[in-house]
């Protein structure tokens, strides 16, 4: 009797742990590497003032363009600013831009897609046609046009990145809502007189959360990349703010004369942060989408 109980409990444990969401995610090595990068940059961004040895904007032309050394681990730039400190503080700007950008995309895209999918008809059609038209623009070009229209700066880069991401979320939410609105639990809600807004918020949205979460994670990488590209082109943050894309832009004229460190470290920071979100996003998709899991 005891052995049967032991057996059943061990079967239960082995079945619940490795197949649970976190169990599967932790088993996915690439997703864990991604999570490591994300946690690393989040930690760096949060504790930037403690980690950075110098002020990110303090200039000292006496030590300009110095190669990496014990005093300046990643060297100095053309104004004698410590690149290590600038990379550390740059993490704050990049992560914030990504979070705010994706936040704008989610806050506008998800309700729009939900409304279009739930009500359908002319309203739904108009919303989705607008989304399709936005998708017709190459994303970086649209972001550039928006940032240029508002005027260069960090806020406009965030808005631009946010608007560019709206149609992706709207389309995803639209698809999810269309398939969920005919389900019995939604019909039951309607039958007992639950308001449409409540059905959308409390019944449809939670059930559409998994693919939205995957999209948001992948979107963060994309947002960081787009914002860095805007800064590189002069449409993002203004000097002397430490931002990775802007740092590479400032260092590009020194590459031919051999000062590789000015662009190398901010570049690696961008690559690792984007890679982090892409790997975690792919991992989440594998875990949350059973079709992909079984198909592997």
């Amino acid at each position: 009797m005891l052995s049967i109980a032991e057996n059943s409990s061990s079967i239960k444990n082995s079945a619940s742990k490795p197949n649970s969401f976190f169990g599967l995610l932790f088993k996915n090595r690439l997703a864990m590497i991604g999570l490591f990068f994300i946690l690393f940059w989040t930690f760096v961004a949060l504790f930037a003032p403690i980690i950075a040895p110098y002020s990110p904007t303090a200039t000292n032309t006496a030590i300009k363009l110095e190669a990496p050394s014990a005093a300046h681990w990643m060297g100095t730039d053309n104004f004698g600013r410590d690149i290590f400190s600038r990379v550390i503080f740059g993490a704050r700007i990049s992560l914030w831009t990504g979070i705010i950008g994706v936040g704008i995309s989610c806050c506008l895209g998800i309700p729009l897609g939900g409304i279009a999918g739930y009500y359908g008809g002319k309203l739904g059609n108009v919303i989705m046609r607008v989304m399709d038209t936005l998708l017709a623009f190459p994303s970086l070009i649209l972001a550039m046009a928006i940032a240029a229209s508002i005027g260069p700066g960090l806020i406009s880069a965030m808005i631009a990145v946010g608007i560019v991401g709206i149609p992706e979320f709207a389309r995803l939410m639209f698809g999810q809502t269309v398939s969920l609105r005919e389900k019995e639990f939604v019909e039951a809600g309607r039958a007992i007189g639950v308001k449409d807004s409540v059905i959308l918020r409390k019944h449809i949205f939670p059930n559409a959360l998994a693919p939205l979460l995957v999209r948001a994670t992948l979107g963060l990488g994309f947002a960081i990349l787009t914002a860095a590209s805007l800064s590189f082109l002069g449409l993002g943050v203004k000097p002397p703010t430490a931002e990775w894309g802007a740092m590479i832009s400032e260092g590009r004229e020194y590459i031919i004369s051999g000062q590789w460190w000015i662009i190398s470290f901010p570049g690696l920071a961008i690559v690792t942060s984007i890679l982090g979100f892409n790997l975690l996003g792919d991992g989440l998709r594998d875990v949350l989408d059973p079709r992909i899991r079984t198909g592997k």
Partner: protein, 336 residues
Amino acid sequence: MIRYVLKRLLYAIPGVLGIILITFILSRVLPGDPAVMIAGEQAPPDVIENIRISMGLKDPLYLQFFHYIRQLGSGNLGTAWHTGHLVAQDFATRFPATLELTLVSMFIAVCFAIPVGVISATRKNSAVDHVSRVLSLLGAAIPIFWLGLVLIYIFYAKLGWSPAPMGRIGQDINPPTHLTGLYILDSLLTGDMVALKESISHIILPAICLSTGTIAIVARMVRSSMLEVIGLDYVRTARAKGLPERIVIYKHALVNALIPTLTILGLQFGYLIGGAVITETIFSWPGVGSYITESILATDYAPIQGFTLVSAILYMLINLSVDLIYGLIDPRIRYE
């Protein structure tokens, strides 16, 4: 097929109108005031007001939109004050350089991504597969502006293998006689071997830089569609009747796996257009992309808006062509 093409072209009209509307909104409705942008923030209020009146910004929005469409209808994208030319004229001068760079990048991407994707799929979980998957992941995460600078540092500054990243041809070399504006093609057509060698050596680095992201995505796509196709009955039949593996893979499996890849290639043009702005800036490539960056730095908005409009319409037309080709090679689609 003609009916299918006409139907698709008809469907494209609302799309084009939508693109024009969004570009118009970007130029008129967003918080930035075009009159202030033209006159500068320090300009006296009466100067700004005069510009507003002359630009028709005081008219109701629907009237402004109507004027905008009429202006576009006559091929007028505005004037670039930093060059003093019409935007459309500047585009026409610089477009061949961008087209050449984009086409060569696409060529490199296709030549590299398809074999890599096929090898990854046929030797799943081998070392080649793992390396190509890691490279695919990196390719999607590396910013194009950083990669370009790293390539310049390695191949120009350190190894000296590549010419200076300054344009399409060496400064002491005469460009080939103008036929199409594409230097490689023009040199071939006129038999100008010096210009051919120069233009190829100048385009290689920027084209590799621009193609990396596309290689990453296309290789992943080819891999996954090959994996799907390889398991299908007709591939098994081809093997069962004793065809050599090479023919099974390249003639039977790959041709069918390429159909979804075609869509991705079409979508990649959008990425290439955006990427061209950055790549051209880094390599001082005298195309439309670097012109846009110059316009950004000069806070000249007419070229930026014109480029947004033209690139979106171009992008839409490319995807439409892909759909039509799709319909041509897969009859099930055009009969739907």
